[in-house]
């Protein structure tokens, strides 16, 4: 990583930004989401806060323009230079310009706005170019699927040299598991332990009801070192000894806890691009199927044929009598699927297709 001469940076760690001009290539909300996600990558790595300011004078002004556009560095038409940004400072300092002669996109066709924005905003924060080809601050564009765009260690070291390490935010403190409004993000069986996820925390307990008090609680980074955000869903395939963890549009294949896992895109399962995340997942080995819950719908995925079954998605409430509209966690134990909706846990006999019992979600944690 490298810095500008005299290492300029923002004194105030709360930095405002404004999108002064949008590109017609993308929907406004996709442009805003791209910048929000790019900024979040930096604020996850350093004690920075970004506030979108639509009126006043923002620190970072973002715009799209072509050819000569008011500074000394005119753009060069399609290809070549894609964008540039100014180091932190007054006036034009921190501003970011994108070449409107490029095709901007959220996917692979054209240039991925999120990835170029992450790079340029690194300049706005005070980073210059990196020689590390895996770094976001490497000068040349890398066309990868957006699941692989994340800060490299080099980027993190650079931004933390300028602004320090991120402060432990309140939500990463251990969640209050016996709070009456407590709900889970995800649940999965790993070996003979049931693992529950909430924010960045996880609880592990044996399946034998007599030992429920031997609960282990830890920060998820201890057991899932590659995964740096909270878990949305998880399922296991006991026959393969593999666990699949879902975070946003990524999924991770975990062969062994505490070891590195590799990432893929949830769209490899056949979800449409409008699906941004999965709420819950559970594998039913008797049928070789994995059920995914997304919003009010559910999908059925055939693990052997590696593709979604036809006729899906279907409404959850059509086929799962007694289950709430949305499901936020699920796991299978013996002949039952346990589904979690809000603060409740629903025991569902999938052979007889009927609800068996409803208890409070956190009673699984001994509350």
């Amino acid at each position: 990583f490298s810095f500008y001469p005299e290492k300029p940076k923002w004194k105030n760690h709360t930095i405002t930004y404004m999108i002064a001009k949008y590109t017609p290539d993308m929907k406004r909300e996709d442009v805003e989401k791209s910048f929000r996600s790019a900024l979040k990558m930096w604020s996850d790595a350093a004690p920075l806060r970004f506030i979108k300011d639509n009126h006043g004078k923002a620190d970072i002004l973002i715009s799209f323009a072509r050819r000569t556009h008011g500074d000394f560095f005119s753009f060069d038409g399609p290809g070549g230079v894609l964008a540039h940004a100014f180091q932190p400072g007054e006036g034009m300092g921190g501003d970011v310009h994108f070449d409107e002669d490029e095709t901007w996109t959220t996917g692979k066709k054209g240039y991925n706005l999120f990835s170029v924005a992450a790079h340029e905003l690194g300049h706005s924060l005070g980073l210059s170019h990196s020689r590390d080809p895996s770094a976001i601050m490497y000068p040349n564009y890398k066309s990868q699927s957006s699941t692989q765009y994340s800060l490299s260690k080099d980027d993190v070291l650079g931004i933390q040299t300028l602004y320090g390490k991120p402060t432990i935010k309140v939500e990463t403190a251990a969640p209050k598991k016996c709070d009456p409004n407590f709900s889970f993000d995800a649940a999965v069986l790993i070996g003979n332990e049931i693992v529950f996820f909430k924010n960045r925390y996880m609880w592990m307990r044996t399946t034998q009801t007599t030992y429920w008090n031997r609960l282990r609680e830890s920060h998820s980074s201890t057991y899932l070192p590659s995964i740096s955000s909270h878990v949305d869903a998880a399922y296991d395939i006991p026959a393969k000894g593999v666990v699949y963890i879902f975070t946003g549009h990524k999924y991770w294949v975990v062969q062994q806890l505490k070891t590195k896992s590799h990432a893929g895109s949830i769209h490899e399962y056949g979800f449409s691009s409008s699906v941004r995340q999965v709420d819950a997942a559970v594998h039913v080995s008797e049928y070789g199927k994995t059920v995914f819950f997304v919003g009010e719908f559910y999908y059925r995925y055939d693990e052997r044929r590696r593709r979604m079954d036809p006729g899906f998605p279907r409404l959850i409430q059509t086929d799962w009598p007694g289950i709430p509209r949305k499901v936020n966690a699920a796991f299978k134990l013996d002949g039952n699927i346990f589904l979690f909706g809000g603060t409740k846990s629903y025991q569902y006999d999938f052979r007889q297709n009927r609800m068996v019992k409803i208890i409070s979600a956190n009673s699984w944690l001994g509350c």
């Binding site: 500008y4 001469p5 560095f73 753009f75 290809g79 070549g80 230079v81 894609l82 964008a83 540039h84 940004a85 490029e102 240039y111 170029v116 790079h119 340029e120 300049h123 210059s128 170019h129 020689r131 080809p133 000068p139 040349n140 564009y141």
Partner: protein, 85 residues
Amino acid sequence: LPIDQDLLPKPEDVELAEGYLRRFYNLNPRSRGKMLERRIRSTSAMEEKIREMQNFFGLRETGRLDSHTLDVMKEPRCGVPDVES
């Protein structure tokens, strides 16, 4: 030995490279001066800047516009210089 014409970079590649090095590696625009003197100076300045760019991108530092170097120069990229400007 006669230089293999194919090895010599095409004029448009030399022009692209000059623009690239001016923009990202502070190659000075062609300065005034006598023809021969200017040619000698600009060639060695160009070679030095090519070497600097090859070093940044981890390429073999030949100081010449070989195909790898030209390929990297043609890749889409950020408009901010790679060296202090």
